[in-house]
């Protein structure tokens, strides 16, 4: 198995950290993973993106060519990345973004930002809510590894509300069925 995953949004949403956590979770699962991100002026302002390749085999090409899973958390990221998805891919997109284009991929619209703001009451957990939703929908990594990676990478003082973010994110799958 091999998954190419692109996480996209805007600065401040923790997109890069989400990429790092996802790659780390895959490694805890005993898989191979590469995380890469844009750096320099390319990474400043506007859309932010992190790329993760996960595979049970050796990963040679380190970048995402055509994502199988695409997370979109901002309108800018939608404009930039929506069209670039594999035919049987999955797009998980925040419900604040108006989708006006067609896609062959499966589009799943979820209230990710709203959940972080109103349920967890910590907008800073948008990335963790998104990761939990992505995990439960795609199973690219296990829940236990995702949790281990989250707790390893977030500040100790934030573990409690990140736990709540994970739980709230997992539950978003109920809206898919």
């Amino acid at each position: 198995m091999k998954y190419e995953i692109r996480l996209s949004g805007e600065g401040g949403q923790g997109i890069i950290l989400a990429g790092v956590i996802l790659a780390e979770a895959a490694i805890y699962d005993g898989l191979n993973a590469i995380q890469s991100q844009s750096y320099g002026p390319e990474a400043r302002g506007g859309a932010s993106k992190a790329e993760v390749v996960i595979s049970d085999e050796e990963i040679n090409y380190p970048k995402v060519k055509l994502p199988d899973i695409l997370l979109i958390l901002s309108a800018d990221a939608y404009k930039k990345y929506f069209k670039n998805i594999s035919n049987n891919g999955i797009i998980i997109i925040d419900d604040t973004i108006q989708v006006t284009e067609n896609s062959n991929a499966k589009i799943i619209t979820l209230p990710i930002i709203k959940t972080a703001e109103e349920k967890v009451k910590k907008p800073i957990t948008t990335n963790i809510v998104a990761l939990a939703a992505l995990q439960n929908i795609t199973n690219v990594v296990s829940k236990s590894s995702l949790e281990k990676a989250v707790f390893n990478r977030v500040p100790k003082s934030s573990i409690e509300f990140n736990k709540m973010a994970l739980e709230s994110g997992y539950k978003l799958i109920d809206l898919v069925r």
Partner: protein, 355 residues
Amino acid sequence: MARILMKGNEALGEAAIKAGAKFYFGYPITPQNEVSAYMAERLPEVGGVFLQAESEVSAINMVYGAGGAGARVLITSSSPGISLMQEGISYIAGAEIPAVIVNVMRGGPGLGGIQPGQADYFQATRGGGHGDYFMVVLAPESIQEMVDIMQEAFDIADQYRNPVMILADGMMGQMMEAVDLDNVEKSDRNLPPKTWATTGMAHHQGKNIINSLELDPAKLEKHNLDLKKKYDEMAKNEVKYEMYKCDDADIIAVAYGTTARIVKNTIDMASREGIKMGLIRPISLWPFPQEPFDRTADRAKAYISVEMSMGQMVEDVRLAVNGRKPVHFYGRTGGMIPEPKDILAEIKNILGGVK
């Protein structure tokens, strides 16, 4: 600690500490700044010294000093910064001081860009600075290999009293990958004691002088001949390479570092289309491996050097193939990373031509 997720730049810093480096000097430049940030935090924890110099020229001369005192010392930079260090590197080679220099290459020439490149091949393998000197140049293709090679690089530097360069690129420095830092193989090299080091202990062990100046031409020629003997030994002993699916290959790509792993993807795509393609991956760029070419030249129809440059290593490939088969080139530059499908298209062109 088993496999952990680490950024290439940070992993190479930790690997240097594991290899016994106690000193790091540098000056900021993208895409290698995470090495400095990491060393600034980590080196004091292990009783080492991190120092951000006022310039690259200053930093490389601090390496000259620390290496001359017998310490294991690391310096890292990226292309324009490495250019600024060339005078110091030449002095370090002339004065026979061990040091490990990492170039996390970016696109050039000039200030160029900050995305990955491989256009410093000539500079790294042909001396770079002035005078007759060589250094072993090692090119890892993964973060794990970069970590393993770091130990080796320090050992080679100490064994020959010579600078060693690790040639990485912005892709490798910036990406994160799983790495095992605990099981790095220690070499069984017999490293000579550093009796030549200037340790400030002259009253105990006699005076040592480290210098690259010799105004008597006869003596300087003798020094150069001695260095040549050393370089010949390095050339004989320090060749490293990987041969990947070369056995029945019609076309053999030659690539190093990031480009080599991209070519491995191309080889998988090619084999699905029935094209027999292999890869010679030089791990030591100097000394450049001759043997894999001698082993494949009868069978292969053609070679292609794939680089993130306008064609530099291809000259060494031509020397190694020595007219036995055609040598082609495919390159992207300026920070563009070749895609497997583009390399495959070029391979098809070539094979169409040689049938």
